[in-house]
């Protein structure tokens, strides 16, 4: 199956056209973000950034078919997302969400093994090939010493890695992660993001995540999507910097983007008012 996708004429792994995302409540439509368009190739790490409430998570959940789009189209390897069956989608796209997992009584190994569900038989027996993939997923994130621990014994950073390992074990070309670095300290944020970049580059996966760590994303991502409610620019971080797209991302009364360092600076005047 997968062979037909890799050499298909459309090599775009994930593509969105004129996408609007949000919520429907009865007849009321709450549009969170609109006019979103991007094309992702295989083997890249991409970040979705924006201010609070810009629709990062809503967009990610729409891409992962957790919720339906309001309008526009999403294509996965050239196929419209809406036309793919749940079971087929499960072998093409995996998720790491912010939802807390229902039970933390699972062992790391058990949790990662669940990632093989799309491939196992009716009762979920693991074939030798499944066991190999599970072990290699655990190795990729470096969790071998912890694999028999229960999830309630893990720190937030370790649990995040377990969830990433589960997504890797699911063996999909696309992995979507919703805020994988929240609640983590600076070191572990970098650790998770470099891990994701390695996986994307070495295993040829398309990895998309939402984040508030704009500066870190600029350094580590291949492409970024800025949800700024003004065209939602998409491109390489350096290109976005050159186009001055970060300058207008936040209201400019407190912080300012410094193109030379690729970081945000707090205004001098803001310092003064604090004093």
């Amino acid at each position: 199956m997968s062979a037909t996708y890799t050499d298909a004429p459309v090599s775009h792994s994930l593509e969105a056209r004129g996408l609007s995302v949000g919520y429907r409540q009865g007849k009321k439509v709450l549009k969170v973000a609109k006019d979103i368009g991007f094309t992702l190739q295989k083997g890249g790490l991409s970040a979705i950034v924006g201010v609070n409430g810009a629709g990062k998570s809503t967009l990610l959940r729409t891409l992962g078919r957790v919720q339906p789009p309001l309008s526009g189209q999403i294509f996965i390897q050239g196929n419209a997302l809406g036309s793919i069956r749940d079971r087929d989608l499960a072998s093409q796209l995996s998720l790491v969400l912010t939802d807390p997992i229902a039970t933390r009584n699972l062992s790391v190994l058990e949790l990662v093994s669940l990632g093989r569900q799309p491939y196992t038989n009716w009762i979920g027996n693991l074939a030798p090939e499944d066991r190999e993939k599970i072990q290699s997923a655990i190795q990729t994130v470096g969790l071998e010493p912890l694999q028999f621990k229960k999830c309630y014994e893990l720190s937030d950073g370790q649990l995040q890695k377990v969830m990433i390992a589960r997504a890797i074990a699911q063996d999909t070309t696309i992995i979507l992660l919703d805020e994988p670095t929240t609640h983590l300290d600076l070191y572990h944020k970098v650790q998770i993001l470099t891990l994701l970049r390695d996986i994307a580059h070495k295993q040829g996966k398309t990895i998309v995540f939402t984040t508030h760590e704009i500066e870190m994303a600029i350094q580590l991502c291949d492409t970024m999507l800025l949800l700024d409610n003004a065209g939602n620019p998409f491109g390489q971080p350096c290109q976005l910097i050159a186009d001055k797209r970060f300058d207008t991302l936040f209201p400019r009364d407190l912080i300012q983007f410094d193109a030379d360092t690729g970081a945000f600076r707090v205004h001098k005047s803001a310092h003064d008012t604090q004093k």
Binding site: S94, L95, T103, E110, T120, G124, Y152
Partner: protein, 343 residues
């Protein structure tokens, strides 16, 4: 792989314990029959008194088998509910499913008297009581699920389950107010829970409904494991939520409904046994837990029933009281050890 556990030893020990409890249960009762003769009667050997054979085959063995099936059925439905609702306190009793069965039974037993004459008595067969309680429990379960779809907070869901129970109790009170002493008595005895009145054909019926429930649960093992991560993850791993939810609800309705119909409400077994099982089987995999709760539930209820029949006396205590006396402290104990309360 070091940890590809099959849990052979615990399963073997539990099976032996089950056989022992079955024999113990069958050998104790108002008439004293030695264990040796009990086994001999079961295996078709010679006996000191031939009447013992009748007692064992027509009274004690059906009762022991009822206890076995009731224990297994309730425990499995508890396990299904805990995973479906992702709540360690879920069980057929807490979520008002047993109350639904009670309502069905009450409507039939007491409502049938309103339909005077032969038509009313015709309605009141064991099969119809079973159907009525199954329908009752299924309806409450569907109502709980409908509410569950709107409410994400599981604690709120439990309270709603309790409210369904209260409504049921109220309706039953109204019914009892208008019904005749005879029917009221019949219903109250039904609500005590009883394992000792089933005939072989009734046992066969209970057995087949339970088997259907167990088979449906076996089909739901993979979705159940997926649901351990929550519904979004389960769906993203290719599980059809609609189908598996329906499967699990149907299985629970069959298991809890038929048990409550035949044996009356039996409290706490469904809630406590899955937790007790997890103390022995250190896993969340339903491929292991499902057979384990079946065994454990059967053993526990056989023991409770052995206690309830007060060995060497003619008294039989209501089984529902015994399971509550044992079950409620277990739940309190589990809550005190909060860490283990995660399911």
């Amino acid at each position: 792989m070091q940890r590809n556990k099959t849990y052979r030893l615990p399963f073997l020990l539990l099976s032996l314990a089950l056989i022992f409890c079955l024999a113990l249960n069958a050998s104790l009762g108002s008439v004293s029959i030695p264990l040796k003769d009990t086994l001999s009667a079961l295996l078709g050997g010679p006996l000191e008194q031939e009447s013992w054979r009748y007692i064992i085959w027509n009274y004690r063995l059906p009762k022991a088998l009822t206890a076995l099936m009731v224990g297994s059925g309730l425990s499995l439905s508890g396990l299904l509910m805990q995973t479906l609702f992702r709540n360690p306190l879920a069980g057929p009793f807490v979520l008002g499913i047993s109350s639904g069965a009670s309502l069905g039974a009450a409507l039939l037993i007491m409502g049938a008297s309103l339909l005077s004459g032969w038509f009313g008595t015709l309605l009141l067969t064991d099969v119809s009581v079973t159907i009525a309680s199954s329908v009752g429990s299924l309806l409450v379960l569907l109502a709980v699920i409908a509410v569950a779809g709107r409410i994400k907070d599981t604690m709120a869901l439990l309270i709603i389950g309790l409210m369904f129970g209260s409504i049921t109790t109220a309706v039953v009170s109204v019914l009892s107010y208008f019904s005749e002493a005879e029917q009221l008595r019949q219903y109250i005895f039904w609500s005590y829970g009883s394992l000792g009145h089933l005939s072989w054909p009734q046992l066969a019926l209970l057995g087949s409904v339970l088997t259907a429930g167990v088979l449906l649960s076996v089909l739901a093992i993979k979705p159940l494991n997926g649901l351990l991560l929550g519904e979004h993850y389960a769906k993203s791993m290719g599980i059809s939520l609609k189908k598996s939810r329906f499967l699990i609800i149907l299985a629970t309705g069959l298991l809890a409904g038929s048990v409550t119909a035949f044996a009356g409400p039996v409290a706490f077994v469904g809630l406590a046994v899955p937790h007790l099982t997890r103390q022995i089987f250190d896993t969340t995999d339903h491929r292991v837990l499902l057979p384990a709760v079946l065994l454990y539930g059967a053993i526990l209820l056989l023991l409770c029933d052995t206690l309830a029949q007060l060995p060497a006396s003619a008294y039989v205590l209501p089984i529902n009281a015994i399971t509550s006396i044992i079950g409620a402290p277990v739940v309190i104990w589990l809550l005190l050890r909060k860490r283990k309360m995660i399911f």
